[in-house]
Symmetry: C2
Subunit: 387 residues, 2 copies
């Protein structure tokens, strides 16, 4: 077992290649989390109305700094779906408006946009991305052809979910700005995984999960909105902060941060996450994991008689790698890998194609991928599940 796996609470018996799904929290961060919960119970009123809010401020400042954004330009939310719902609900879509996106987005976000577009008579335009992606230039050129005079907002993943592809959002956001089109980047898989600098990114709106690659406990994510348009968005849960009796300097904070009694301890762990990544030389970890991920891609494609869905290059691939796989029952294959081989890895479908997606985190090594390779090889030889 990789020594670093003991830093996590993960079952040591399982080859865990499914980090991208729900992350995993290192013990030192998890302890900070549960200690906050105990501190809340020690003095609930003081914590929820005073001390906890100071911790929240400290944690927000740590996240501001980590993501290079200005104070008060992000709020904590439970998950990126929640953030997408905040934005979509308040966007005031009109008949004929278009949201331009790709056909590789996360299904729950697609559902949200489709719901609000249907309500308004607007259109959710899923631009078809031909795989394999050949180059940044071809991707950008194709995607931007989806823009029309009706395009109100571009919604696009920083790293796609099922296909694990890093998309050239910097170029797309910069170009959209010249046209006055609002951009909203779904960075569910990005912070802690690839560099995210909100100042340089030019996205108007960005949501990211901290509970995936930033190692926070579940339920910690954020919504960033450029200051000029922050006041366009109403709270999803209207509560005390709406038309607050004690308003702060930021309506954005007041509207979205306080949403009734809840355990907000997960929001408080960012300083611990940043410290853990710093102490473990996270840039180096990212580089090593990316290399391991990329170095194995072709080998898996060969085994499965498929081809990579992008150039094997940092421009498109980081620590998640989705290999096209020919199988009829992806859920059954995933279950077999878990039950029989003790390998946790998702096998998913998008646009009628199946992918097996391995995620490489600090606790993974070549042995893990070899176990996956051998398992797939055996399944291929001995069953008709993979063809």
């Amino acid at each position: 077992m990789n020594t670093k796996k003991s830093d996590f609470l993960l079952n040591p018996e399982i080859t865990y290649l499914g980090f991208g799904s729900f992350g995993a929290c290192p013990k030192p961060i998890f302890e900070v989390y549960q200690n906050f919960q105990r501190e809340l119970e020690y003095e609930p009123v003081q914590f929820i109305t005073r001390k906890g809010l100071q911790y929240l401020q400290t944690s927000k400042e740590a996240l501001d700094k980590y993501l290079s954004c200005q104070a008060d330009d992000l709020v904590f939310v439970t998950n990126p779906s929640y953030a997408v719902n905040i934005i979509a609900k308040s966007l005031q879509l009109k008949v004929g408006d278009e949201i331009l996106t790709t056909n590789l987005e996360y299904g729950a976000c697609d559902k949200t946009w489709q719901y609000y577009c249907d309500k308004a008579g607007a259109k959710y335009i899923k631009r078809e991305i031909q795989l394999p992606i050949e180059s940044k230039e071809s991707f950008i050129a194709n995607f931007l052809q989806g823009i029309t005079p009706q395009t109100k907002l571009i919604f696009i993943s920083h790293i796609t979910s099922v296909t694990g592809l890093r998309l050239p959002i910097e170029e797309i956001c910069t170009y959209a700005k010249t046209l006055g089109i609002t951009t909203f980047v779904d960075g569910a898989h990005a912070p802690g995984h690839i560099s995210v600098n909100l100042r340089n990114l030019n996205a108007d709106i960005y949501t990211g999960a901290c509970h995936k690659w930033m190692l926070a406990p579940k339920g910690c994510s954020f919504l960033f909105v450029q200051k000029e348009i922050q006041n366009n968005f109403d709270p999803l849960v209207v509560s005390w902060g709406y038309h607050s009796m004690m308003p702060s300097d930021s309506q954005f904070q007041d509207y979205h941060q306080m949403q009734g009694t809840r355990d907000f301890s997960a929001f408080l762990t960012i300083p611990a996450c940043v410290q853990y990544m710093h102490e473990n030389n996270w840039n180096e970890v990212n580089t090593n994991c990316r290399k391991l991920s990329q170095d194995n891609a072709l080998r898996f494609c060969e085994l499965l008689n498929t081809s990579p869905i992008s150039p094997i290059h940092d421009d498109f691939m980081a620590q998640m790698c989705s290999i096209p796989i020919n199988c009829e029952k992806p859920a059954d294959l995933q279950q077999l890998l878990y039950n029989h081989y003790q390998i946790e890895i998702p096998v998913m479908t998008i646009n009628h194609n199946n992918y097996i997606r391995y995620s490489i985190q600090i606790f993974n090594d070549q042995d893990d991928l070899d176990r996956l390779y051998n398992a797939l090889h055996k399944i291929k030889e001995s069953t008709d599940m993979i063809f």
Copy 2:
């Protein structure tokens, strides 16, 4: 110190009369909570997509049983404000519609209704409740006079927040039913505090907090909706369950229960809460606490030169008692009681009147109320904060 206080994680140095604000979780329930969190981290994918969902089902069934409602007629939500937002967002209010409520409701709920009424051109009618309440009959007669042909929904607390009054919702819901007016009861303070039987109650919609009087950890509440109208309500966070690819028998469950990645461990603790209440003879605890609360009401009124705001009777008073208090700076008084006397108790304002509200839970005794009495007496004698 009351022996039962050691069952809680509460600071033993503080006289805790503020239970009604955010509850407090007994250690055995809290351990179950944090163990679920560890179990999630042991196998995140298995927990979030399989095992945790089985626990969720078990917990929901325990809550169904505890509240005497049918299977699938309630979903877990983070807090009652969240539930009110689900309902208000989907109610499809029209110009001229009226929501009838009292002028004693929780401020965050008022804000939510006002927000959606303003959007639709509807009216949020806060029926003025004259205090003291004289009788059930007079309360009901006065409140029902607020009904007009435009009344679309009645929103009313089971137990009010600032004033701690139990309201005769059974009679109001039953009468509203004869008129075909939808009723929505805010039971934030009710379950675990007074008997809540959803089958007998006749409310169309009911929300309650489990993280207050049912002793669950923070972030555990529920929304109950009568089966016939469940499908009127869209999810507040549109996610996988909306037009689910794998629908269950209940659209209500699909729409509202799964809302993206989050730590739903608090939702799983209901069996532990019910067990704790059972093992501690909760009916008897409720009775004793109610008695202690009621027995001290007049004494505090006399000290503060005020009068009770209702008959001192189970019909109106349970384990929270709000005493009118003449003071100019309620927040300062609350802070003084905490800082100088180590007493946690809220001093709050509603309709330009101030109230000090003590909550009596299993860990409180007469000594706690005597400490409060002596502190208020001293403050009254030695400062001009209370007059």
